[in-house]
Symmetry: C2
Subunit: 381 residues, 2 copies
Amino acid sequence: MFELENNDGDARVGRLHTPHGEVTTPAFMPVATQGSVKALDSADVEAVGAEIVLGNTYHLYLRPGIELVREMGGLHSFMGWQRPILTDSGGFQGFSLEHLRKIYEGGITFKSHLDGSMHEFTPEGVVEHQKGLGVDIMMPLDVCLPAGADRDVTRAAVERTARWAERSLEAHAGDGPALFGIVQGGLMADLRQLSAERTVAMGFPGYSIGGLSVGETKSEMYEMAGLAAGMLPANAPRYLMGVGAPEDLVEGVARGVDMFDCALPTRIARNGGLFTGDGRVHVYTARFKSMEGPIDPECDCYTCARFSAAYLHHLFRAKELLAMRLGTIHNLRFIFRLMRDMRTSIVDGRFEEFRAAFHQRYVPANEERRQEHRAKRSSRH
Amino acid sequence: MFELENNDGDARVGRLHTPHGEVTTPAFMPVATQGSVKALDSADVEAVGAEIVLGNTYHLYLRPGIELVREMGGLHSFMGWQRPILTDSGGFQGFSLEHLRKIYEGGITFKSHLDGSMHEFTPEGVVEHQKGLGVDIMMPLDVCLPAGADRDVTRAAVERTARWAERSLEAHAGDGPALFGIVQGGLMADLRQLSAERTVAMGFPGYSIGGLSVGETKSEMYEMAGLAAGMLPANAPRYLMGVGAPEDLVEGVARGVDMFDCALPTRIARNGGLFTGDGRVHVYTARFKSMEGPIDPECDCYTCARFSAAYLHHLFRAKELLAMRLGTIHNLRFIFRLMRDMRTSIVDGRFEEFRAAFHQRYVPANEERRQEHRAKRSSRH
């Protein structure tokens, strides 16, 4: 399903082939948790340049239900999105819904965050659910741990994830959507190696790097993503799950990652946190109050082409719903311009130059904001 | 500024000429209180068929401030809307912000609902504010009373409104945007007559009918709107303020009204109340859960062309922001199709037939919902 087209150091450009068309990599997948990238419709998502979106099996299973989506012709038809869709497996919710689940060899039992009802996710069931949604790329159920889990717990999670991967492969039986393998192992290089070996031995068409961005530092995350990517075959796509701040995308690509998803760009946009070439800004601040130009003069998005920073500032202050759509469009377009520029620089053999220039200018959110982000992420469903 | 083109009984078709282009009447004006029709951007508002929108002087004065909007090139430029804009005067807020204002001969003193600061609106100041916004049609400051005000209070309000109209005209000095006169008088025909005579004698290019939809019954409102319209010159546009449920638009047009504004179509849309040819439906209800077709098979709006009723039902249940945009687009498009169909039927001399057929099918919201609407309206800022 994957063609590697170019590389520059560890950074790669390639192409994913799926039943709903091609995706150029490195690719970012906006998060459409409940069948909608929050505040946008599918035409908006297409217009910002997305080629693939991510849906959440756990959320769609609970509401509106897999069977309903299947009856409506599948998730593509239901949400009016004709490009590829990847779904997660519910494994992440097995980590984030700490008080609402039990994990055991058979699978994960969840207490619904909506109505308290009990539901069991098994490796086999999760493959079935994703097939019911009719997606292009599926994830197997896995065991995702918080940062700081000890060696024994991490090793057990790696081994269970591998056993679940085998069960998932068997349930999948090869037809329909692509099923990726997931490499776990926390921050322990030898356990990552063990996980990578066991997973690669099963022969998946693509590999996810899971269990990162769950509380560790950025440099720990970069290091482990790089190590894990290096353990994976060159001819398969590598997907770093749950990572997607601009600086993390650049560092992930530098380490050979091909796919990313993250709710951060869309979530911070709804709170007025917007990306610019110089870093993340907060549109509520007084400097934008009477700025006639767009929030980012280098941006070609719908929002920047049409509306002043002063208008956005006003909409956010006045709590107008439109603010969230315009902010989300801007942030996603920023991410897709970044992905495109990285691809071009890789093809041109000047990725390291691009990476240095990016970091030279781009000021990431301060550590305080990052902490807040982690806290929110852990409490996310 | 107004050409009367056709009439059929009391119902009229005409054309308003403004500095930002023409408006065909009968016209509905979506409410853009704070410089945004809630949940939509200006391209959405254009796409549903709006030719003119309404802004609220009181709200824009408080935030972002008249001077800021003026510096940004005026309200059209600020909100990215190049078609005509009409603004109200703050007179309605003198009614609705009951606990936050004092009305006296000089004007109205408001306590800001945002930060408690004190502000005075005078007839002269309000003209100045609207000129600062750069709008096409301005309203003079008026005294708006709740239904049930007694005769003496109503007469005093009519007389003060007339004196304020004179001061507004003088402040306006005729240049720039059109200034309408406002006819008050509650539900008392003789006071409406007095108000109409005094206002018409001043010679405005258009006339508003104010003080309705403030707690009276529908039939009282229809009767008084009809009486007031009949007191106004045929060659000027007649604007029934704050009225815009589908059945009210039909009855207003039947009585010779040319312009309407109302927050109801957009507000109920954000709560899942959607218009169809058969009446208002609630998209949360189970009948839409698995409906593959659009919410209204007769509708040509973006939402109905692209998304199933089942998807809308899901978005509203899941509290997705997109639900509010898609619902608002649908309801406004319903209103603009209704306005267009009324205009066509008037030109074709079959308005009465259209009116009867409309009422035959369209089931308005039940009385309970209407009460709730009134309560919200009264508490609205």
